[in-house]
């Protein structure tokens, strides 16, 4: 049975493998080149920095991957990150405990994600519009809460949450790894995960096979919101300060990481692992540029080129497969 794969299937399998492989090779290639050019790059201190830097994007991209897999999108994550960070920081500044601040952050995020999902479900309006609206509402809310001030001088015990090293690895990295493993398991091995792929792959087929599409979508938005909430607490803890425009443009970095990872914007294809790989590449790149003493003004240009390269190569590969399948 296993050897009797038809030709198109074999090609498909190879392409899927190649897609991840290409990204992995690009990441490794860049790392090797960097290690040869700048010895500092391959020191544990630098690697730790890179990992710490991509934690926030990584956590949020786990949720965003699920959102994009069901063929929706969430533009409000940047604003939500700011709101969550502000609320957590204010709670800490008022003398609250670190553990409770995490719970509060996750709860705020989950609530907002739920509201996003319910808005989309009840009004039957495309998610890009709803989240565009909640993006400005949340940003406004955040500035309102902060009165345009900065929140600084958070206590050391809170700072530790974002910087404490366990076995030499910062705590946020451990949290990201655990979250990623849990969600990869959910996507691969549970009915819920299968439903997510089914909805994105073929909405009508999913409806006809009895999947409660709207319920799954609302849950996905809620989970994604909860992850943003978790990330927001780590964000506040890592830097020790929050400003009113924290996380502005963050949604673009996250969507960029997911797309560079190879998750299809049309839904149904992709996965959390590849999004994390995308986030890793997007973390290594700015770091390399700094080490190579490229002016920081070039960072955005090169990130943009990277996303373009990723989607164009993805499309060209897809074209080749389609031609292969036609023959």
């Amino acid at each position: 049975m296993a050897t009797a794969l038809s030709l198109p299937k074999r090609i498909l399998v190879r392409v899927v493998l190649f897609r991840q492989l290409g990204l992995l090779l690009a990441t490794l290639g860049l790392s090797v080149v960097m290690a040869l050019l700048v010895p500092v790059f391959f020191t544990w201190g630098n690697i730790r920095d890179i990992l710490l830097n991509i934690c926030i994007i990584g956590l949020v991209s786990v949720g965003m991957t699920m959102v994009i897999l069901v063929a929706e999108i969430d533009l409000s994550v940047g604003s939500l990150l700011a709101v969550g960070a502000t609320i957590a920081a204010l709670y800490i500044a008022a003398g609250g405990s670190t553990l409770v601040s995490i719970v509060i952050g996750v709860a705020v995020g989950a609530l907002m994600g739920f509201i996003n999902g319910m808005f989309i479900y009840v009004t039957r309006t495309p998610s890009i519009i709803i989240t565009l609206g909640t993006m400005s509402i949340l940003r406004g809310l955040n500035i309102q809460i902060m009165h345009g001030d900065w929140i600084v001088g958070l206590p050391k015990r809170f700072w530790l949450l974002g910087n404490l090293r366990v076995l030499g690895v910062p705590l946020p990295v451990w949290i990201t790894i655990v979250v990623a493993v849990v969600f990869i398991f959910i996507l691969r091995n549970t009915n819920f995960g299968r439903d997510i792929y089914a909805i994105g792959g073929n909405l009508n087929a999913a409806k006809l096979s009895g999947i409660k599409v709207n319920k799954v979508k609302v849950i996905v938005f809620t989970l994604s919101g909860a992850l943003v909430g978790l990330a927001s607490v780590l964000f506040a803890a890592r830097f020790g300060w929050v400003v009113s425009n924290s996380g502005q443009g963050f949604e673009f970095s996250v969507i960029g990481a997911v797309v560079v990872g190879g998750t299809s914007i049309f839904g149904g294809v992709g996965g959390i692992g590849s999004s994390l790989l995308g986030a890793l590449l997007m973390g290594i790149l700015p770091n390399s540029l700094v080490l190579l003493k490229v002016p920081p003004t070039w960072e955005k240009t090169i990130l943009g080129l990277l996303i373009l390269y990723a989607v164009i190569s993805d499309r060209l590969i897809k074209n080749r497969t389609e031609r292969g399948l036609a023959e």
Binding site: T123, T125, I129, I137, F252, W298, I307
Partner: protein, 337 residues
Amino acid sequence: MSEIGEALIRTRERLNSQAGQESGLPRLLRSNEFILLVVLVLELGVMALLSNKFLTTYNLLNMTRNFIERGLIALSMTLVIITAGVDLSVGSLTGLCAMAIGVCWGQLGMSIWVACLVAIAIGICAGLLNGTIIARLNIPPIIVTLATLSMFRGLAYSISSAKTFSGFPDAFLLIGQSNIGRTPIPFQLVVFVLFCGVFLVALRYTSFGRKIYILGSNERCALFSGINLRTIKTLVYVFSGLMCGLSAVIMVSRVSATRADLATGLELDVITAVLIGGTNINGGEGMILGTILGLFVIVILTNGLSLAGFSAIAQTIAIGVILILSVYVRTRLKATR
């Protein structure tokens, strides 16, 4: 083939109803533009009650000065969204074009007018880049323009080394800061009205406009009707780039300085205006008149609220609420139709 036939009929019905050829009174009352007009009048009333400075000729004309840049781009964005696309890179591109003016004039010593032409040319080329990738390679516009959003903004920083330029010649500043004669009509309002006319006619009365609608409502149908998809798709993004170049000229002249972070987040304002104006994010539906009304809804809201002493935050929140509400009401209305 029946699928295509049906789609053609549906498209024609939609176009007819939009052109008002079947206009009875109830249809008129339920039309998008009419609802927007009602909202606008209500807004004017509320704002006039909130502040006595609001309903003066001077204020009403002067507040348009600040939104012309967004308005110009909203016109071309309407075309883009009708083709079922979206252009997220407009804010960054406007920033890049503005920076190009600064660099060409301040660093390379060109005449300011040549610098403006260079900026507009850069806008067109950037639009061509977006359009070509989207149309030739068939990659979702949201991703392509997300990438170029980052790229154009980065280039704006790179070419200027994050410097700012100011002290432009007086003649140049007239574009954004002068009035027509002794009237309180801002110069750029005339430019805007002119372009509104051009886009209105192009979308409604030319075959190019019709093709845009068909492309947006059913791409396969458009393909089989012999429409050159690639050309049309590329063109709408080129227009988008052109408008970014123009609005960069006006913006630099109005604020009399240019920084690399100019016009950040402008894309969201523009898309919001277009969507409030009734253009369907899934393509195939929308009108320039709606976009213009949508712009006014936003401008009156922000200006009125700020005159009445509300913070910028209240304005941001109000715009978000209006966006969601307007799309929601429209979906409900369509369901009852």
